[in-house]
């Protein structure tokens, strides 16, 4: 690979937009060419600075309420549990009805996995409003794990990956798929990752992305795991791979 073509690909390489073969070629060139390696380092540093230092502004709480009111809803300071229940019922009813009817009301082809995925999105979003995120704020996995004792009828595996850039910040009990579940909370830069863990022998089939959030689901040793975040897909997968190891 020439410097000219490497330089034209460096940004797409950093942004994770190259296919595996192209990425490998760029990597090889960076190992051999000092000029390109310096350019790569400059851009990587800028990207890291923007992600860690530039503010990602949060909408004020009263703006949320104003918007809810303007689309004809009462303001909701605390999101309603009812919303999930009614959603779950609606989804079940819809499943029972014909596919055509489904398509009219919601997205086409609604499956049970989609319904759970939608619940997961709701839980994730709810956790980010106000201070619903953590029942047990702690960066120590040895505090978080015992906290679930007596609150759940199973013991979720709690791991910390602060060294890899996915810091555990705590946990809470949430409600999903008609049962209480463990939610472990991690942070990657400014992005919150909720990892839901509950016992299940059948693997959940959920889409990779729902309403703009990325999801990674896996089933391991009788436990269902679902990681959700607005973090980019590649890094969320990296998190899941660390956890699965």
């Amino acid at each position: 690979m020439t410097c000219k073509s490497a330089l034209s690909l460096i940004e797409a390489y950093i942004d994770g937009e190259l296919d595996a073969a192209q990425a490998a070629e760029v990597r090889r060139h960076l190992d051999e060419c000092l000029d390109c390696a310096v350019a790569h380092q400059r851009l990587t540093r800028l990207s890291a600075d923007l992600r860690t230092l530039a503010p990602r502004y949060i909408a004020p709480e009263d703006l949320r309420n104003r918007i809810m009111q303007s689309v004809g809803r009462q303001p909701v300071a605390i999101p309603r549990r009812r919303a999930i229940t009614s959603w779950a019922i609606a989804a079940t009813v819809l499943l029972a009805i014909s596919a055509g009817w489904n398509a009219m009301l919601l997205q086409p082809r609604k499956t049970a996995g989609d319904a759970v995925a939608q619940e997961i999105v709701s839980s994730h979003v709810r956790s980010l409003i106000g201070d619903h995120l953590l029942d047990v704020p702690s960066t120590d996995q040895h505090n978080v794990k015992p906290w679930f004792n007596g609150r759940l009828d199973y013991a979720p595996d709690v791991k910390d990956f602060a060294a890899e850039g996915f810091a555990l910040i705590g946990g809470r009990v949430d409600y999903l798929d008609r049962r209480p579940v463990a939610a472990l909370v991690y942070k990657r830069r400014q992005h919150v990752i909720n990892l839901f863990v509950w016992p299940s022998t059948s693997a959940l089939a959920a889409p990779d992305a729902v309403s703009g959030f990325n999801l990674v689901v896996w089933n391991q040793a009788g436990m269902q795991y679902c990681a959700i975040s607005d973090l980019n897909e590649a890094e969320l997968r990296q998190f899941a791979d660390l956890y699965r190891r």
Binding site: A54, V125, L128, F213
Partner: protein, 210 residues
């Protein structure tokens, strides 16, 4: 009465907006052509709450960077949500965040193009931010970090809006080239070249400040 000539940045903003509005009209035409139901009904309202409302922070962050002030960002996000709700009948599932951000972007750029003779945009420093748990730092390191944050913010805020929006969508919202191309209504090649030029300007700006 005094008159003020629009700054170079404002004029450039206005030029970008004109090609943007075309893209927006295309989106709306496509969407509304498919929407024969008129006003959103109760099911759509529920779906709107599930798919669009959750992306409020992304919407606000984009608006805040485009307007460079809190007050206008809030008003424009609210306006964008009303628009999104009105056109929601044409949303056929998929990426709710990208769809909403396209509406927010258009609302903000339209506003920027109309804004003439306004006072210089105030920059506020005391906003609630996503606070990352930071390791303890000694005073000197903390100062260096703070000044780096200020420089970076200044450099991003002074970027021409066509680069600024792409940088914010890529680096802060971490969206893919394809998603950004949908939101901005430009081809992926244009996303890449604007991203590249934006980054080059940021690097120059940061180096000039250090």
């Amino acid at each position: 009465m005094s008159f003020r000539v629009a700054s170079r940045d404002e004029r450039r903003d206005a030029i970008v907006v004109s090609d943007m509005s075309v893209a927006w009209d295309n989106i709306v035409c496509q969407r509304t052509a498919m929407n024969n139901s008129g006003k959103p009904d109760e099911n759509q309202r529920e779906l709107f709450e599930q798919t669009i409302v959750p992306h409020l922070n992304a919407a606000y962050n984009l608006a805040r960077w485009l307007t460079r002030n809190q007050h206008d960002a809030e008003d424009l996000v609210q306006e964008a949500y009303l628009r999104a709700f009105r056109f929601f009948g044409g949303f056929h599932g998929g990426d709710g965040r990208a769809w909403l951000l396209a509406v927010v972007r258009n609302t903000c750029l339209t506003w920027l193009s109309k804004k003439t003779g306004g006072a210089a945009v105030a920059v506020e420093f005391n906003e609630q931010l996503h606070g990352d748990a930071t390791a303890p730092m000694d005073a000197e390191n903390a100062m260096i970090r703070d000044s780096r944050i200020d420089s970076l913010r200044d450099c991003v805020e002074t970027l021409p809006v066509e680069y600024r929006e792409i940088i914010v969508l890529r680096e802060l919202e971490e969206l893919s080239y394809r998603q950004i191309s949908e939101i901005a209504g430009v081809p992926i090649g244009t996303v890449m070249s604007r991203l590249s030029r934006g980054r080059e300007r940021l690097l120059d700006c940061m180096e000039a400040k250090s």
